[in-house]
Symmetry: C2
Subunit: 303 residues, 2 copies
Amino acid sequence: MTALEQAMQHCRAEGIAFDRVRTNGIDMFYARKGGGFPLVLLHGWPEFWMVFRPILNTLASDFDVIVPDLRGCGDTGKAKAGPDGDAGAMTHAQDIKGLVDALGLEKFGLIGGDLGAYVAQAFAQTYPDRLAGLFFFCTPYPGLGKRYAQPDHLTEVWYQYFQQVPWAAELVGASRETCRTYISHFLNHWSDDNPAVFQDMIEIYTDNFMKNDNIQGGFDWYVSSAKNRQLWIEEALPQPPIIEAPTYFMWGKRDPLIRPEWSDKLGDYFSDFTIRFADAGHFVHAEIPDQASAEIRTFFDGI
Amino acid sequence: MTALEQAMQHCRAEGIAFDRVRTNGIDMFYARKGGGFPLVLLHGWPEFWMVFRPILNTLASDFDVIVPDLRGCGDTGKAKAGPDGDAGAMTHAQDIKGLVDALGLEKFGLIGGDLGAYVAQAFAQTYPDRLAGLFFFCTPYPGLGKRYAQPDHLTEVWYQYFQQVPWAAELVGASRETCRTYISHFLNHWSDDNPAVFQDMIEIYTDNFMKNDNIQGGFDWYVSSAKNRQLWIEEALPQPPIIEAPTYFMWGKRDPLIRPEWSDKLGDYFSDFTIRFADAGHFVHAEIPDQASAEIRTFFDGI
């Protein structure tokens, strides 16, 4: 049994249920636990639903918590590969629309970080009536602008370009060791360079990325979002609709990828938001899950 | 016998001699053939001396042609690794100073592309009295400025940042296949996306990079030049001394990495230069070696 299969057994023993829905042309896998007001949690890259396991278990006492694997990731279906592939933020948002429709969730809370934060913004701009509120970890948003690719930041964002080359997944997935080396870098570096955060998860993540073409599946997002990313960095992206849902940002004070000071333009994109800087790096939800759960609970209790 | 060893046998049969000199703390390997006015050719990354084999054989009829492996590359000694390592342009220039001193070359012509072009510029700025003239292929120079990392160019330059991470060589060198995949990308893409150019050289290059820690040896340049590269892209690099030696640029019209239109600021750094755009990509010397040899000959005959 792989480390991932073993972890899935433990998750089932914790009362987490797993199922699939057909949505937007793919089978979407999701974890679910609890009851009450529904919260949908959207993971980032290089993650899958399990990054939210601690938060899922904590919040299940008061909420109906649903955590899908996003398109291309985990046990969910793949995007069509290539530059005309369909793993962009709007496609992901439509995937989530199909999921919540299938589950009959009329109004719910949406929570996301990294890739999940792009998806949550696209969803909020397209289906605002469905949202009670939005909760973000360290959030990529167009207000980062050219700062996201400024000269002293290229050592952080090179992977967004490497992951577009057609042979990147072949290189990263050449062996279990190369996959582990690559994925570990991001898990550890983005966790405030603290390898203890994902220490017990490295083999599980490696299992995840070594199956189902998940390396390319994750990279498809970078291929599909390339044009948009370029316009954003050129500060030439058309202004999207302002997001009016109540929104909470829990932003890692030491996120090396999406620097906390770059949150200064949130007001151009969100009309009703609160921001709090947390004692963490990029993976707030994995680094300080208890505190993240508490802030999610307080925020959605207050709505 | 490896493809590289076999090629070296053929080179010896062609009359190319090989030797080493002690210079600047390392053993430098070089190829040499011919007699007459001395020309020193400096290769780039991911190359080694052999990229100049056709030009070396052609020019040897009238010149004393010397082609070293640069520090970290081929059969030359390695840089100290790490951010305080010593594989920057000035260290490389001092290596070349030691080489030409050891060979008793008082005045000579210097020819370079890519990394070799950085080295040749540092040499020309530091030891101008030694140079009869400079000949460049597609030249990285500070006048590229922020254009070198503009949003639509990040899909070209990501490797300069990836190659700084401490595990990059481990990933690329995980197997002969990963090494071939990685190196082939640059050889083919930069040759105007024409795989025929390096087709017969891929196994030889793979042999080269799989020995002597040559993957990390090449990456050491990117580690050592990182600070300088950042200042350059920030357009904050102090103005270097103007290069007054007669200089000729043979620039690939279709170089995807160092675009020909970015040659527009050469006048800020070179006081006496000619530029000609060639029907090639980045690897002018490998794509059209006969034409490159002819232009080198004409330029140095005229001096």
